[in-house]
Symmetry: C2
Subunit: 617 residues, 2 copies
């Protein structure tokens, strides 16, 4: 069985030099791939204290050992770098086809170093790698950019690129591939700081596996296992477009910048409402879940808005923070973020921060370019998204994220900056899901919902043990979730697929892909997860982080959470007479509720006429 540890493509944008390397067996054994490789190489190669947006920072793109194969939910990929938003380790996971295409081109890691002296893009094929001029696409949005690259390099091309937000070094700019994004941590800004507009790969399917026969058998077993799994089928049906039904119900849907746990008008944004605007679905390479639900707005202010998504986090980002219940605005905002290359969570969080500052008088109409940031009004939110991406007016302040924006303002603003380590909080209220909250506080990258998702708090998952979601005792559960997530992300396995019943096959699959047997031991995988998490922590410690930054925002530690009464409060049945009049009329019955003779005849019930006539007197 041939060893297959994965190849590295190293591109230096300062020198223009390109070379390839092979991952040593020891690193493969200890770190498996994906995020494991990400932290391992970043730790080794990055000088502590460098400017995340300077030429000394490096941007890594990583798929995993299983990418591009017929197995499901394992072709995801990620960016790793030092985050300009947090200063800490950054990893940002993305979907679509790009991870598979990296594999087809022969690579598991692309390390981008230095800084180009003009806008460029990287074009990679199985023939080689070129650094090309991006003058024609610099300034273009991500859709136009990808279209241009496909037109120039053919339909077998897949792309990861940035939009105007990345070019303008917005601290939470995203990297976009198809309509999926590596959203969090501002890795798009790192790409922009290198004058790198895109990485385009033109390739056809080609896979390297240590033991193709064994792998094939395992992959078939994986596919068969997933096919009928209820979690998979539910995810296929809904994606995450109905998660708000759960989180709002239990009071952990953050509203008005984390003051309330429920949206008053929740029903207007229920999963079923999004479904009404659904026009299709999209998925990642070799995954039949196709969980990216596509929505189109048919009428009104946002008519024509069209987005893959919003998924749950983005549904929240464009409703909760400003207490809007406009599905249409959320679709338009989501589309804008994908086009402009912005992380939706930090965008929504920064806007929610601005709305509260406006409410408290810390921002005035003269500060907001005339926008009235009043809860429920979504037009200013949509305007702010554009301003942020282009760093126009108030957008220039908000493009720094809430931590830096607050620090640059009056002291009172700090309470309203809802972040951990500079990264804005996602759509789960920590006061109502405390293990999830403590994951935010301790995750290597800042407030990430998926760095150790506390499904125990939110969906009652039983492993390693059930939690009381208000308890602050479950450090063991937080650690279990974080370490598990770490080794899953060596895959790079989709986070959702963790609940589809196949994770017991994972170790065997990576063993067959790599030719490294020890992965088949589950205790070993857990150790890899712990190793990764510890090395990330060491990375952060080296950058100056310690206990002090492991903290939830002050609001959550000092202000009680408020929930809302259910929408039915105060309801009464008040028009029974009118209802019965209408019901009887539609039934063809008299005002007394007796079927009229004509109705009985029309239904062939003539034999009942005599009884009815009697009752009518």
């Amino acid at each position: 069985m041939a060893l297959n540890t994965g190849k590295i493509l190293r591109v230096n944008l300062t020198s223009g030099k390109v070379n390839t390397e092979t991952v040593p067996e020891k690193i493969a054994a200890d770190f498996i791939g994906g995020r494991g490789y990400g932290i391992r190489y970043l730790y080794e190669e990055l000088t502590p204290g460098i400017d995340p947006l300077g030429d000394k920072n490096k941007l890594l793109m990583l798929n995993g050992p299983l990418a591009g194969t017929m197995a499901q939910a394992v072709s995801r990929w990620m960016t790793c770098t030092r985050s300009p938003l947090t200063g800490a380790f950054a990893r940002s996971v993305c979907g679509a086809d790009f991870g598979a295409w990296m594999k087809f081109a022969g690579y598991e890691i692309i390390i981008i170093e230095g800084k180009a002296d003009r806008p460029v893009y990287i074009h990679l094929t199985t023939e080689g790698c070129r650094i090309l001029d991006a003058g024609e696409i610099w300034g273009k949005d991500t859709k136009e950019t990808q279209g241009w690259l496909t037109q120039n390099h053919g339909k077998n091309t897949r792309t990861a690129c940035i939009g105007p937000a990345g070019e303008n070094l917005v601290k939470y700019a995203a990297v976009v591939s198809d309509r999926r994004t590596a959203g969090r941590c501002g890795t798009g800004a790192v790409m922009g700081s290198k004058n790198l507009k895109a990485v385009a790969i033109t390739a056809q399917r080609k896979i390297q596996l240590a033991d193709p026969e064994a792998y094939d058998k395992l992959a078939r077993e994986q596919v068969a296992t997933i096919r009928d799994n209820p979690g998979f089928l539910n995810h296929k049906e809904w994606g995450t477009t109905s998660t708000q039904d759960v989180t709002n119900a239990i009071g952990i849907y953050p509203v008005r910048n984390f003051r309330y746990g429920q949206l008053t008008d929740y029903e207007k944004i229920a999963g079923e409402e999004y479904r009404k605007l659904r026009v299709g679905d999209m998925g990642c390479y070799s995954c039949p879940a196709r969980c990216g639900k596509v929505h189109t707005v048919k009428s009104g202010t946002y008519a024509g808005a069209h987005s893959e998504g919003p998924e749950y986090e983005s549904i929240w980002a464009f409703t909760g923070p400003i207490e809007s219940s406009s599905i249409e605005a959320s679709i338009a905002a989501d589309q804008l973020c994908d086009d402009l290359g912005l992380d939706t969570i930090s965008t929504g969080g920064s806007i929610g921060f601005a709305y509260e500052l406006y409410e408290k008088g810390l921002l005035k109409k003269s500060d907001t370019d005339g926008l009235e940031l009043i809860y429920g009004k979504h037009e200013p939110m949509v305007a702010l998204i554009k301003k942020i991406a282009h760093r126009e007016g108030i957008g220039n302040l908000l493009a720094e994220g809430t931590m830096r924006a607050a620090a640059s303002m009056d002291k009172g603003a700090e309470l309203y900056a809802i972040h951990v380590k500079g990264m804005e909080l996602p759509a789960y209220e920590p006061r109502g899901a405390k293990s999830q909250g403590y994951n935010y506080a301790t995750a290597s990258i800042g407030a990430s919902h998926c760095y150790g998702y506390a499904a125990q708090d939110i969906f009652g998952s039983p492993e390693p043990h059930p939690t009381d979601r208000f308890s602050e005792e479950n450090a063991d559960v937080v650690i279990y979730n974080q370490d598990n997530t770490a080794w899953h992300e060596c895959g790079v396995a989709c986070a959702f697929s963790g609940g589809w019943g196949w994770m017991d096959l994972f170790g065997k699959m990576v063993a067959a892909a790599r030719g490294i047997d020890k992965y088949t031991d589950n205790a070993y995988l857990a150790k890899v997860g712990e190793r990764m998490f510890n090395l990330e922590r060491a990375f952060n410690v080296r950058e100056g982080f310690n206990r002090k930054q492991d903290t939830l925002p002050k609001r959550l530690l000092t202000e009680p959470l408020h929930t809302r009464k259910a929408p039915g409060e105060g309801q009464i049945v008040s028009h029974q007479d009118e209802f019965l009049d209408k019901y009887y009329r539609l039934r063809g019955w008299t005002k007394d509720g007796i079927p009229a003779p004509e109705k009985l005849k029309a239904l062939g019930l003539d034999f009942a006429l005599k009884d009815i006539t009697k009752s009518r007197k």
Copy 2:
């Protein structure tokens, strides 16, 4: 293609005479089968004004044209009679195998007339029908009764029987088959009034179909359609044991005798909590959903309690009315009702009524045999169930149902009797789901949730058009639901299967089963539904019903509904320091959150030691 309209077994318990008849083609064409046959024959054969518990009433048992076949979710059966609880038309649907066994024995209708002069049971085989002495099982619970009958007649025997509640003419006694019940309307009391303990059928699979080849093809198509349907898979996974997650969230889970729409301690009875006690599942004949989830209580007061169910309505019946959040008590209560032969909904409703009378001082401890009916206390509820079934003490009053019990008391009690036409309300609060409420008000049998289930209000179903659940304008939706339900119940199709994507096959399937082509027209089916509903109305009109009884209880027309704040209200993250101490300790990190050298070494991260040591000073 041979006509196959179904056969009737007529058993007169007064005379002991038994004969068989064939359903005429005209009736088959107009009413299809199942509930259609039920109302058609009952209308023709019952004299208006007779005593529902007298010998002039008749009890019909009906399966449908598809029962016993390989098709799914179509072997359900029902009882039809004049209800002793409401005085109106009664139909009560049941599951398990009995419907298929009726077909194997050759029948679609069993009409039971007259009254035996001593306890008897009917034993039916393909050889014939005998009326046998039931002296040995009279007084026994339904489990013992069924066990005795199986022992006496062999394992190919299936039974429908009553428990002590039916014998004691409790107005809402059920007919029980296996662990499923024809619960509502008190049809078990009618059976008891005839001194009929059970109907037992010993038979082996044998089906009559007009066009077996065509039917077989359609049934295969039906099975294939259902297999991957998400609604089916979700139902298979959960049954109805998680419906409270939805209804409580939107504030329509009736609490404290319909004063609140939410349970304070809801999380303790969430679907996931029931799942923890799940030990298996059971299903109806030829249905792979197996939606009857079986629960066992492992410890505490109710240790050993074991029940198929509770399903949603019973979960509610033994939590909401008395505001208990004890899953264990609900399982014990559900088991008792199945054993004693009681409708869980009316039992829970009557007990909730008693608790409120106790709160208001209209019932005193001296009236309740010393029981303290205080909200949250579930032991008295369990005690009351036994008293009701045996008509002991306060149980004798509650065995009459809330309408009659209130009428026999001080005038003030009437406000607390929550019923329509004498039948207690199920687990959907009408003030928060008004089309569902108006279905209660107008359904032929009284307050039934499934006589025209308003999935539009509850789950946002889009047909015939979406509803605002607080609107009282949707008479058309109520009618659509009621008429649809009516023709589905000719099947007898399972109510849940309506959402499994196969209903377009229904007409073709019954056409192939009967040899009657006109069923294939969907407009025709709708007309059958309307015809049935109108004939039921004519039946009720003949018994004196009119607009006056089409009313929701006074409370819902006069008192505003109250909801509750979500459980997270007032929560704060208050122990962050303690959490971090524990987290770091479990991680093997220092108090400052720095990985300890031993930990790094244990993980093979020696290369990171120097950076860490520097940070630790």
